[in-house]
């Protein structure tokens, strides 16, 4: 009997032991690395190279958080997740932050126990069609078949758009982005629909990129950004301000090359950690924002390096330009 009691007590611990821990920062520090959820391969946003090194816009958000919390942008453990798996991985605590071209929607923000910490890319849903169809806008796609990746807002937007325009359509939903592409290539569908940022990358990987065109129409708002669990406000603040630090750095004209130069500007000094106490309430080192800019770069650098005109993706800044230059990127006051 005694044995049984001990056993049941032990099992009780197991059963009740896995409640969600609410201090992500100390967990990350204890592990010595940040566990960051990324995509299984989206060119320009998160994709591994042949030797397993990850790069991209979303990956740089992970690196910025690692630089801020651990002082080293390399201390990230990347967890590739499909669209379907991503929220469960975050909810269950398998990852510390999700940075995987995830659209900020009302439902996701309010019913999944998650918080969106900001926007690192303002995207929209677009279409890629076979050139041979001779279609040059979405209105010309009445009755067409579409290849879509399952588990994305794309599925819902497509249905919404065609319903509101009283147009007919067929949707063929695949599990992964790669399958969606091969379905399109094989002629299973007339058009492929996805976020505009991904279409350019997908098109460049087609066997014959010139056989397809990306239409100019954009049918939805897709603000993409990092996501954290609810219930850890400090961690939420760290992720939010890591992203803002990159935007602020660009606005101040500070790059990874110039971050350590002595400056008389109080704003730059705050970013360098030389004045102010912006680190204290986050529970981070004084150097946190300096480390982000020095090791990862400002937003403009990150953009140009991963998806800018010099890369195969060749995306223009568009709305993802600073507010002072006609875009909508805007960091709240860094003071």
């Amino acid at each position: 009997m005694n044995k049984l009691l001990k056993l049941s007590a032990a099992s009780l611990l197991v059963v009740t032991g896995f409640s969600v821990n609410a201090n992500t920062l100390s967990d990350v520090k204890a592990q010595g690395s940040l566990s960051c959820g990324v995509s299984t391969g989206t060119p320009g946003f998160s994709s591994p190279d042949s030797s397993g090194n990850w790069s991209g816009m979303d990956v740089d958000v992970c690196r910025a958080i690692a630089a801020a919390t651990l002082g080293d942008a390399r201390k990230v453990k990347y967890v590739p997740l499909s669209a379907k798996e991503r929220f469960i991985a975050l909810q269950s605590g398998e990852i510390d932050v999700l940075s995987r071209n995830t659209t900020w929607t009302h439902t996701r923000d309010t019913s999944l126990g998650l918080n969106f910490a900001g926007v690192n890319y303002y995207d929209g849903q677009g279409f890629m069609v076979k050139k041979s169809l001779g279609v040059n806008n979405v209105k010309g796609l009445d009755g067409a078949s579409f290849c879509i990746q399952a588990g994305t807002t794309t599925e819902l937007n497509l249905a919404d758009y065609f319903r509101s325009n009283k147009m007919d359509f067929k949707a063929i939903t695949y599990d992964t982005s790669a399958q969606t592409k091969s379905g399109f290539e094989a002629g299973r569908c007339d058009a492929l629909t996805s976020d505009v940022s991904q279409l350019a990358g997908l098109r460049s990987t087609l066997k014959d990129p010139s056989s397809a065109v990306v239409l100019g129409d954009v049918i939805s708002k897709e603000p993409l950004g990092p996501v954290v669990r609810q219930g850890d406000d400090n961690w939420f603040n760290i992720v939010k301000w890591s992203l803002n630090a990159m935007i602020e750095a660009e606005e101040l004209g500070v790059t990874s090359a110039t971050i350590d130069r002595t400056s008389t500007s109080p704003s730059v000094q705050r970013l360098q950690g030389k004045s102010g106490k912006l680190n204290e309430h986050l529970g981070l080192d004084k150097n946190w924002s300096r480390n982000i800019v020095a090791q990862v770069g400002n937003y403009g650098e990150v953009f140009e390096r991963n998806i800018g005109m010099s890369t195969p993706i060749q995306l223009p800044r568009g709305v993802n330009q600073l507010w002072i230059k006609g875009g909508i990127l805007y960091s709240p006051a860094f003071r």
Binding site: K84, Q91, L112, L141, A150, E155, K170, A186, G231
Partner: protein, 387 residues
Amino acid sequence: MFIKLKSLLYNNEVRAILFQILTVVVIAYFAYQAFDNMMLNIEQSGIRSGFGFLNDEAGFAVNDNFFLTYSPASSNLQAFYVGIVNTLVVAITGIFFASVIGLIIGIARLSSNYLIRKMATVYIEIFRNIPILLQILFWYSTALSILPSVKNSLSFMDSVFLNSRGLFLPKIVMGTEFYLVLASFVIGVIVYVFIKKRSNKKHDDTGIATNTIPHFLGLIVLLPIAAYFVFGAHLEYPALKGFNFKGGTGLSIEFFSLAFALSIYTATYIAEAIRSGIDSVDKGQKEAAAAIGLKQSQVMRLVVLPQALRVAIPPIINQYLNLTKNSSLAAAVGYTELVTIFSGTVLNVVGQAIEIIALTMLVYLAISLVISLALNIFNKKMEIKGK
């Protein structure tokens, strides 16, 4: 009093019962604790729970839909039903063809013809030893690359079309005309069954066999066709309009690839079950049947198979269950069955993993239990007859 209690505790029977009760209590307690803890965690992390989401608007389109009405404006519950129906359709189709192919291959495995025997062996060894997921993907990509595009569809009498998107068939227009045709078909079947029964009785009584094939053709094939023209019933034909075929009805290429792969794969196991069943029938049975003058095909149909099936049915039940469960691999090719629709898209829109996965598991459990119940009843019937 105490001594009595102690002796009761050392009573073997009492102990056995006591420990069983204790085990049940402990298991129930842990299950309850786990559930309670889970609900608490969900509540604390601010995740929505409960089944209210079933009434929300689904908002997405579904490609394959057989009998139900569904549009993006339908509820998640309706999407759930569409998923169940699609799973059942592909499972039933797969079970039917896997049984037919399995039976043929199983018999061919024991053929006296060297080539047929070896070909059946090669078929089994190849398709049994390749993972089913790879086979599904293989048939899907093969179908996509071999079949022509929509614009160059293969057409049969301008009413049936086959292309890389699927098979498009004429659809029956429901109405009085159609019901009259249906009625004539039913009458034809009833009359034919009556004639067949009478000829069987005559055969049993007098030994004179009557050929009922002309009756079959006349009553079951020609009568409904005649009715179709006489009553002026009509079909709705598919036609290429714009990007796709409109009108009529269609079966997607995803459905075909999945059903085909599942049938081909599962048939190998069914064939082996049937072969071992036939092997188990005593040689004397075949010789005795041949001795009373039965033809080779009659020996197989009337004597060997009924006894062989008795042995083969339990493993075949397992294969039917496996096929049904394997149909959840549909996500790989985008056939919209239960897992793709419900624990795929709906889960991602709603985010309530526990409720959605639990419902999905419940459906598979129910389907599997029904299949095994049905076949167990059939098995019982066969057993009694045999003994």
